[in-house]
Symmetry: C2
Subunit: 371 residues, 2 copies
């Protein structure tokens, strides 16, 4: 995956089968490909891995027929699957460690190659918030940025609408066949004329509550910076801000009156160090130094140092010791390595086996727990 | 002035004569007292100094009779004159380099001994701004802070009203006989019950536009921190914020919507590094480390190093050279020292003579110009 070459049709089919297989997340996908050298070999190895991880039954692998059907539907919808490492894959998104192996893209791919800024905020936006969002997204769009948002009501919709002409990206929490909210189907069609809609979910996936925070990592991952316009305390936009910080993206927030509950979250972000934004120039000034020569760097697979997971073979007692350290309370992988006195590669191998067996949950910040 | 002793009645009279004399500002007053050892000796030296500075006519010195009349009126109004260095002089105010030699105080002196926070803002405050101000001033007052403000309409009045019970300080731009705005005479009476009103101006002084920025240095000088609640671009509150920064005071600002012109100034302050405030706890958290053991430090005259102005005698050609470097454009005293190749003490002596002669204007930041 180090070189930016296109997958063959056969390889793309295998990639789709592997990522659609139960319990295979982006990180596990990457570990498997790195170890086995390709998706086909990884698919062949899955039953044995699941057995070693203590799976309740046989591994439920996404079939060739299912994959062919999804690819056919995709073609009919105008959806392209772009693979991690391919030239069309958004370069910044490729840098995050849980980048989707396959992105389902509708619309113009070109907008994904431009430096993007995410503009997000509360669904029940105030009139002032929506108006400010329009001004900001329009000015950032005219300055050359693609505008990324989540197609939600309120701030998101205002950000998309103001950047239809310059290029905007809607990141979906569900599949391309399930636009949410349904009232934004027309907005989405308008977005596709100069921009794009992307998702990592299967075409027919109906988004549920926990799909939205997962989706938010793509909004920030695509972007050089994330602007939060209005956000109540404990709102989804604050999750996007946190993910952006973890991904090393710039976090911007729009201030508001302390008496306005829709400004509680954004004022809080500024207290924590987010850059205060009152106009597009604030965002541009902060991003210019980052974009200068850095933007066009070819996105490369991060080089792994030392043996990766599956490059080593844990002994049975080692596997039992590591599994025994796990429980329903999330613990860090670093702690597991320390407490098990195993190597990181061994611990990651055992975790990968558990994940494929459907017994592991990965949380943010390198935390894992047993299901 | 190193020890905190009270002036005798005779000394206080001389201090009042000296500070009320034309062209004598707080810095010049301090230089004169330091050199001549007292106000009486300084008064005696004024005619010669004015002559050396090239005064147009004889020095117009505030007479003993005028001073006695002002002291008598003061007693009738319940105004006390507190001198720099006396135990009742507000300790933080004493630290600024242009602290008034005499403060005319009405009300309770005790509030001036407490740590104070200034709460200021625009006169045409929004309802939300006034409401937030009340909450903030009440909470800071209950936390033990004296609340300092400027008795203006809008934010200032709201800050005073909310801290009447805990203690608030009105800093006047005019004299105690000229309360501005007149509609706040009743508010002032309420302030005096637990708080105080102070000014450096003569009792009968009617405030003019340029007296307000001058007054603002006392608002910040009295305070550990200054909170700007609402401020348009280029408003007086921003002058107070700048002075607070120059005096080493903490600057706080309350955010607002980018679409609200009354938040332009405060959002700008936050961009420049002011601490964002949405509740009293933000102010208290920032000030606690400063106040801890530091607050009760006995305020001392700053020790002067080396010879001061008037400790040296400039030669006529030196005086001419320094005066020749001055013009209507403000220049820094540091530049004058460098360009004249004189010592700082010589330059300050010549400037002091020019000031007493009414030919010098002092600007902020150590800048001076010829009138």
């Amino acid at each position: 995956m180090g070189e930016r070459v296109r997958l063959s049709d056969e390889q793309r089919l295998d990639w789709l089968r592997l990522i659609r297989t139960e319990n295979i997340g982006p990180r596990t996908f990457r570990d498997l490909i790195n170890h086995y050298g390709g998706a086909r070999a990884a698919l062949a190895a899955l039953p044995a891995l699941a057995r070693r991880g203590g799976a309740a039954g046989p591994a439920r692998i996404f079939s060739r027929e299912e994959a062919e059907a999804e690819l056919k539907t995709a073609r009919a919808l105008g959806v392209e699957f772009v693979a991690l490492g391919e030239p069309d894959y958004p370069p910044r998104l490729q840098m995050i460690d849980d980048a989707p192996p396959l992105l389902a893209v509708r619309g113009k791919l070109a907008v994904l190659m431009r430096p993007c800024v995410a503009v997000v905020g509360s669904r029940n936006a105030s009139a002032a918030g929506a108006k400010f969002t329009e001004r900001l997204a329009r000015d950032l769009g005219q300055a050359g940025f693609g505008i990324v948002s989540g197609l939600a009501r309120g701030i998101d919709a205002a950000a998309h609408r103001a950047s239809l002409a310059t290029g905007t990206v809607a990141v979906l929490a569900g599949g391309h066949e399930h636009i949410y909210p349904a009232e934004h189907v027309d907005l989405l069609e308008a977005i596709l004329r100069e921009g794009a809609a992307i998702t990592e979910m299967p075409l027919a996936w109906e988004p549920r509550a926990h799909d939205f925070p997962r989706r938010n990592r793509l909004i920030s991952g695509l972007s050089v910076g994330v602007v939060i316009v209005e956000a109540a305390r404990r709102s989804g936009s604050l999750i996007t801000a946190r993910l952006a910080g973890e991904q090393g993206r710039e976090v911007f927030a729009v201030p508001g009156s302390p008496l306005d509950p829709r400004a509680e979250g954004t004022n809080g972000l500024i207290k924590q160090g987010a850059t205060l934004v009152t106009e597009a120039a604030d965002v541009i000034a902060a991003l210019q130094p980052i974009l200068g020569p850095g933007y066009d760097l070819p996105a490369q697979e991060p080089a792994f140092e030392g043996p990766g997971p599956l490059d080593v073979e844990p002994g049975d007692d080692e596997r039992a010791r590591i599994t025994g350290l796990l429980g329903p309370t999330p613990v860090s992988i670093d702690d597991l390595v320390r407490l098990s006195r195993s190597t990181p590669a061994i611990v990651r191998t055992v975790l990968l086996e558990l994940e494929i067996a459907g017994r592991l949950e990965r949380h943010g910040g390198g935390l894992v727990s047993l299901l």
